[in-house]
């Protein structure tokens, strides 16, 4: 069942300078869609436009049939959209528990403790460090906290902007395995990645963005095996 749908999306930081130039995407619950493409293709801009951090010039964004365009960024999580930015994605001065509590504040009072508990159960590393300032966490723990923060309100769609950036291969594998676990729970996952090979291995489908437009689309494994695509966009990452 389609949960997130983008139609003809045009977005950019300044009027008249679109970076995303007409993108159609759809994403079903339980599915992981990977968004690939060279630097500057508009992947991050698309994710930020989805989150409401970059203005949309044209096109539509609908989540479960309802338009998100007029929903301000701070209200999109209430409409079921969770977003993990690439950098500065945790509150460094707050403790791990406080990071989760801040995000849980939009839930009914009775549900907050149980959702925080659920996140700590899902990420045992965080449970052990719950009193520590988030700024003192390791890179992998930070990423886990950022994902837990976005998941706490049980969003229908989880979008992540390069969650593997700066992590060791082992941690990348761990983060991606977590995303698979999350998708199995019914969440639609949109994953923006540079690390194409690792991402494709876990993806159900992949979209390659070039100069703000969709250049290729297909099943993750198929793209990985397509010599043309591999040569063009995955070459630098080939082992």
């Amino acid at each position: 069942m389609t949960r997130l749908e983008l139609r003809g999306l045009v977005a950019g930081y300044e009027p008249g300078l679109p970076i995303v130039r007409g993108v159609d995407l759809s994403l079903a619950g339980g599915e992981i869609l990977v968004l690939l493409g060279p630097n500057g293709a508009g992947k991050s801009t698309l994710a930020k436009a989805l989150a409401g951090l970059v203005p949309v010039a044209a096109g539509t964004i609908t989540l479960d049939g309802a338009s998100l365009l007029d929903v301000p960024a701070h209200a999109r999580i209430r409409h079921g959209l969770g977003f993990v930015p690439q950098t500065h994605n945790i509150f460094a001065a707050l403790s791990v528990a406080e990071n989760l509590a801040v995000a849980a504040a939009i839930l009914p009072r009775a549900a907050r403790t149980s959702r925080i508990g659920a996140m700590l159960a899902m990420f045992p590393d965080l449970a052990a460090a719950r009193r520590r300032a988030a700024g003192l966490l390791s890179g992998g723990q930070r990423q886990m906290l950022a994902i837990a923060r976005a998941l706490i309100a049980s969003p229908a769609v989880l979008a992540l902007d390069e969650p593997s950036a700066g992590l060791s291969p082992k941690l990348v594998a761990m983060v991606l395995a977590k995303l698979r676990e999350i998708a199995v729970g019914g969440v639609a996952v949109l994953l923006v990645e540079q690390n194409a090979r690792a991402a494709l291995a876990v993806a159900d489908r992949a979209v390659i963005l070039v100069e703000g437009r969709v250049a290729h689309e297909g099943a993750g494994a198929a793209l990985l095996d397509d010599p043309h695509v591999a040569a063009l966009y995955l070459g630098g990452r080939a082992a």
């Binding site: 950019g12 930081y13 300044e14 970076i19 630097n39 500057g40 992947k43 991050s44 801009t45 930020k48």
Partner: protein, 320 residues
Amino acid sequence: MTGLASYLCFFATVALTYGVAVLGLNLQWGAAGLFNVGVAGFAAVGAYVAAWITAAPAPAHWGGFALPIALGWAGAMLAAAFAAAIVGAATLRLRADYLAITTFGAAVTLQLVALNATALTGGPFGIAFIPKPFESLADRPLAFGAANLALVAAVTAIIFVALERLTQSPWGRVLRALREDEAAAASLGKAPDRFRLQAFVIGAALMGLAGAMQAQFFGFIAPDNYLPVLTFQVWVMLVLGGSGNNRGALLGAVVVWGLWTLSGTLLAAMLPGAWQARGAALRLVAIGAVLAGVLLARPRGLIGERATVSRHVVHTGEQA
């Protein structure tokens, strides 16, 4: 008629002394982006130094060297420049808002010294009998006023032309580049702190000169003249006229000084005697509201900055 004409001369003379201070502020803020909230402090330094140099000896204060007025003005500029060099060397590398706070603090501290270092400054009573230029003409008010106006107009014109040349020179372009994008300008090998310090010191010297000229034309100075209200007036003049533009700076000085004088006259005429002191307060409320209104409605002032630097604010990718 003569009375009105000589009054207009006096009005224009004072307006132009403010104009010189606004030109100094425009160099600091308009050209270099330095946020100085201590204008009153530099004007005070200039005023007291000029008074010490030019006034006759008096037991109530230090100085009294009875030297020519030109020497007094030169000394005032040097002293204000020196004070700015000290403040600037300490604070220019800090963030803009820290510079604002420290210049504000410096001006408050200087005013305290003027108020309390009685042996030097005459304390709360200030310094009186500061000689005026063209005193020999004093019994002919119109000639006296016209001569003074001619003098300050000449000084202002020289400063105006010099600043126009300075801001169009490579030096001025570096300043503007620094204001727009420090990292880019610094990468071209321009030492940002040195250029900024130079602009700050020259601007402060002009404020010192403005203070000295006012001391000379009024013939009397006291610590109360150098409260933060003075800083505020000069800022309103610059913002109203349009920062980054020397013509705007002068226009702002004349317009604001005109409004200030006019509102003072009106309030004095309209308010009963017991409320006169409060009328001055009302004037400040009004001018504060004018400033806020200009910032909201016409943020570039009456005459905005001429576009001399292209603005390369292109977001070239998703990391922008």
